[in-house]
Symmetry: C2
């Protein structure tokens, strides 16, 4: 049953007891399972000539991953006692957007990656044309889900989600970052250039995920800005830590080709700062993400734990 | 200045005198010029590593085309005295969505087309990775434009546009149609399969364009359905006529490779119905599109003329 709360949004089946410091690993796993189920429901297999397309979309999105972006949407929305179902839908939407970017980035003309999460990448499992189309349709589906009233009863909230996702993922965001990444191959980029590259390529979508939770919760401008800053710093910490992992862990551990960026002549944080310097930078960014949450109480402990997790993870 | 009209939407600078039978060619040209200017404004060149991306997006969308979809949005919105600026923005949005589909369809792993409107296709003028990213970002931008309050002051109208565009262009629409097209290469499809393929691949987006005008004009359900039926039949007529052109006109005339579909082993309306049969089918569909407008007065004469135009055009 849906009823109004003091925060001004319907609470539906808001999760009780989410206000104490959680066991992050268990919570990540539980959210990932909920997101997996939602994606499975939102992308049912179809018959006909387009069956292969939907099969490829499911292949690219189902079957794991950390679901960091979807987790962020859900956990930030939970700060405001938002309805769980809408947050899971918006979380599934951002995971589809993210999956589309991975499918296209893995293509032969881009990063030419044969492995993704230890499995053949989508164009290897299917074919190049199917992978391009599956990525295209996953992007579309991400917007379709946000536009559906089941995500939030208020049209204003839904259109804010659409505008924020489009801003984060287009030429001025994620896709622009991928272009900068391709353009930068084979030449040395300075630190500010590498920072901007990653702020666009991965940072903007992670920041969006935090903002999406705030939009779902109809947070005020100040809180939305704080959560946006948290998402920005978390995303930056995540990327620097990713470079460290890429330089130090095995392909088996990562489930993807290791050392790929250095081989491709890409400028990495590790190349610019050294391993220890990059580790210290990731720590600094995670601490700043934590600091951005200073206006929130223990209900944000899951988000605080996440900031630690992104710099301590081993894959 | 924007003020309310009896139709319930702000009229802004609605165009006076659009109620008499227009000279369609001149009107198409005038609308195409307005759409071109809008796209130029909405996609300004940028500096930095992503400059090449935006350059490719501009290359893929500027410089002509019939602008049939954008024209439809504007002309249907004009039936309801909608504000011109919002209709032009929504028209530019659907033209970007259409352009993204052409960029991706032309890729080597898809239709492998070197020419588009007599010019090198985007991946030939730039490179494959840039073309994939430019298509990706054009899709995103189409949704970004719809989500912007400058397109319509009412969030409900904007989210309906987003939902309708996503429904028309994803796995259950345009991209699904492209997948069916690829899957059908080299084997004989029956007429109902070919009809469904095109209803998805090109029909749904043309139908969306008519519906978008109705959404902008806050048309009631009955009128929206009539205009949707018009768009559906117009799109079908357009595609059958396209097959006839592909079989009968030269590459020079078309500005793209002629006879390509037959060479690729695709089942065409001409292959199934013969030239004369396909011409008659296009006429029948155009007449049905005209019939769908029977509830409208002379203000819809431009749309009626368009139904004639799509079956009589020579490129």
């Amino acid at each position: 049953m849906i009823h109004s709360t003091p925060t001004g949004i319907p609470s539906g089946d808001a999760i009780p007891g989410r206000r104490s410091a959680p066991d992050l690993k268990a919570l990540l796993g539980a959210r990932a399972a909920q997101l997996e189920q939602a994606i499975d429901r939102l992308l049912p297999p179809v018959a006909g000539g387009e069956a292969r397309l939907v099969e490829a979309m499911r292949y690219a999105t189902l079957g794991g991953g950390k679901r960091l972006r979807g987790f962020l949407v859900i956990e930030v929305a939970a700060l405001f006692d938002g309805p769980l179902e809408g947050a899971i839908r918006a979380g599934a939407s951002v995971e589809m957007l993210h999956a589309y970017s991975l499918v296209h980035d893995d293509l032969p003309s881009m990063d030419d990656d044969d492995l993704r999460r230890g499995q053949p990448s989508t164009h290897r499992r299917f074919d190049e044309a199917t992978a391009i189309l599956a990525g295209d349709a996953l992007q579309t589906e991400a917007f379709a889900i946000l536009a559906d009233p089941a995500t939030h009863p208020d049209a204003q909230a839904r259109i804010e989600l659409v505008a924020a996702l489009a801003g984060a993922s287009g030429a001025a965001g994620m896709v622009g970052g991928q272009m900068i990444d391709m353009e930068g191959e084979g030449r040395a980029l300075a630190l500010p250039e590498v920072e901007r590259l990653h702020a666009l390529k991965t940072g903007r979508l992670i920041r969006y995920a935090a903002e999406a939770g705030a939009i779902l919760g109809r947070a005020g401008g100040a809180q939305r800005a704080q959560l946006g800053a948290y998402g920005r710093d978390l995303g930056a910490a995540f990327q620097v830590a990713d470079d460290v992992l890429d330089a130090t862990e095995s392909a088996e551990q990562l489930g993807k080709t290791a050392g790929k960026d250095a081989q491709a002549g890409k400028s990495t944080f590790v190349a610019l700062l050294g391993i220890d310097g990059a580790r210290a930078e990731a720590e600094r960014l995670a601490a700043r993400a934590d600091q951005a949450l200073s206006g929130f109480g223990p209900e944000a402990d899951g988000l605080r734990a996440l900031a630690r997790y992104v710099v301590e993870r081993r894959n």
